[in-house]
Amino acid sequence: MIVKKGTWVRVHDIVLTVKERVDNLPKDTQNLPLEMWTKGILLDDAKLGDRAKIRTITGREIYAKLIEVNPYYDHDYGKHVPQLMKIGEQLRILLAGGDLDEL
């Protein structure tokens, strides 16, 4: 897929390879590269997955792997957590002067 110049995109890069990382990291982290993500305007037409140049909102130019077009957020309020449901009821009963067994 060719992405047109001027599109708002997200890029990814390896900023430190496994060998370049500092010593004394926990074992799991030590065997991983340090990765980076940021967003900007694509400066030339480029293929998704290729390295491309972007200009970030502060005007910095970055050359990294093009991974997402028109990136957006989809974090939310989570799924329904049944375990939370009883707290309000318990508190209201206690406040009303009642005694309630443990949940």
């Binding site: 982290t29 991983l32 340090l34 990765e35 957020y73 989570g78 707290i87 508190l91």
Partner: protein, 471 residues
């Protein structure tokens, strides 16, 4: 090792000096000491100046609310005659939704005054949003560097939300996987852009929180005609507690006891990729609280202005399940949907109030906004997805990363005390190790007395135990 890494790290002091505009070395003396008060005086702002700067930016003057239902509940659970009144300072009503606006506004104001074109902050939390919001107001560029993802590309929902908020204010957000080399990326960006280092730990950042403590004292006096008996601060890097305590002192509320509270994340390694998404709190926890109390100068400036041991009367822990329960309680019986991370001090206050008498008052000095990603529902769902079990029980049995135990009854919410002497000893040990020395001068002893808030004998005892020579 990457050659660029070495080059940047070797320029560390030079980059710091250029990007903060403070020569910290002029305040240093002895083997380990520096003149903290002189640094705060000469490089910070007066309370009046800060109030004016913050007032113009719409920061501060947040309401102080009495939590009548939680007080009633605490009294029901406490022994007869016990159960202090619980108050909360609703800092979520600041422009960026937390008390961090007080720190952000000062940093950005100072950057603008010194002629910097932009600001950079290394933060995954509310501070990023605060700096971005203030940079938008004052027309400076802003870059926020976050530790956000694990190696599978899964972002902690709260940190993802913070990225969204920073971008909403026009900031560039640079996100990284787990690791302390974030500091290298941060220095590299400062070097590349010549922007201001809007560190959380500069004198002006901490001075920005002094208005909170001062305001709290004034509001409380107006309402109750006395000073609060206890103020509880959620403690991570120490700036919240330090600034609030200094503000209270400036208001002459010197009898008010200062309690730090952190969420217990014992067992999780902060630099571990696997542990990263096992925590349901990204701040206010022991992963910051303990290391920053025992070595404040680990921060992104040479001498941190946040020095919690200097001001803390007591330091208590609560568990994740207890804070989640109190977050739900705050919404369900007080009508305030906030946090959860900012409710750490609230969970502690609910327990502490039951130790205090009915005619006393305890103030929780912050709330923070909630929203997608941050919300208790988002955090608990994320924990469950990561294999963490969520159930009712006794929160003291919680095993961090394996389960979150919601108290089956509010009477099970109990703070656990941290021995401040152990922290003091650990701090002094770090002073020696980080400076690579085995002896200190007599002048250093007074510095340690002040910096640890301990008497001469206590400090001398610790020095003897650690076999540190005095020259």
């Amino acid at each position: 090792m990457n050659s660029n890494y070495k080059k940047i790290m070797s320029k560390r002091s030079e980059i710091m000096k250029k990007s903060v505009g403070i020569d910290y070395s002029v305040f240093e003396y002895g083997k380990i000491s520096f003149d903290y008060e002189k640094m705060m005086k000469e490089t910070g702002y007066t309370l009046k100046e800060m109030q004016a700067i913050q007032g113009e930016a719409g920061v501060g003057n947040t309401p102080l609310l009495e939590l009548r239902n939680l007080t009633k509940l605490a009294r029901k659970l406490a022994p007869s005659g016990k159960g202090a009144r619980i108050f909360i300072k609703d800092e979520a009503s600041n422009p960026s939704g937390s008390f961090k606006a007080r720190r952000g506004v000062n940093a950005v104001y100072h950057a603008k005054k010194l002629g910097y074109k932009g600001v950079i902050a290394a933060t995954s939390g509310n501070y990023g949003a605060a700096v971005a919001s203030q940079a938008a107001m004052l027309g400076l560029k802003c870059i926020i560097v976050q530790e956000c993802y694990d190696s599978k590309g899964r972002g902690q929902p709260e940190i993802v939300e913070k990225a969204r908020k920073c971008e909403a204010y026009g900031a560039e957000v640079l996100q990284l996987t787990v690791g302390p080399e974030l500091f290298y990326i941060f220095l590299k960006l400062l070097d590349e852009t010549n922007y201001f280092n809007a560190s959380l730990y500069t004198p002006f950042g901490i001075a920005g929180v002094e208005t909170l403590g001062y305001e709290l004292a004034m509001q409380f006096r107006e309402k109750e005609g006395k000073d609060p008996d206890v103020v509880v601060c959620t403690n991570a890097g120490g700036g919240n507690l330090t600034g609030t305590a200094r503000g209270l002192i400036k208001a002459n509320a010197t009898k008010t006891q200062i309690v730090g509270a952190s969420v217990n994340l014992k067992g999780l390694h902060m630099a571990s990729d696997t542990d990263f998404n096992k925590k349901s709190f990204t701040t206010g926890h022991t992963g910051f609280g303990i290391p920053f109390a025992t070595w404040p100068d680990r921060s992104d400036v040479p001498r941190s202005a946040a020095r919690p041991l200097r001001y803390m009367d007591r330091y208590v822990l609560v568990n994740q399940g207890e804070v989640f329960y109190m977050t739900e309680a705050l919404a369900q019986i007080e009508g305030l949907e906030r946090g959860p991370a900012g409710n750490t001090a609230l969970a502690a206050a609910f327990s502490l109030a039951q130790e205090m008498s009915e005619d006393e008052a305890i103030v929780v000095q912050e709330t923070e906004y909630t929203g997608a990603g941050k919300h208790i529902g988002a955090q608990l769902s994320f924990a469950i997805e990561n294999g963490c079990k969520v159930f009712y029980g006794d929160p003291k049995d919680e095993v961090v990363g394996e389960n979150i135990i919601l108290p089956s009854h509010p009477s099970l919410i109990k703070t656990r005390d941290i021995d401040l002497n152990k922290l003091r000893k650990s701090y002094i040990k770090n002073c020696m190790e980080m400076n690579n020395i085995g002896e200190i001068t007599k002048a250093d002893i007074q510095f340690l007395i002040d910096d640890c808030r301990a008497g001469n004998d206590r400090i001398l005892n610790i020095l003897r135990e650690l076999k540190i020579k005095i020259i």
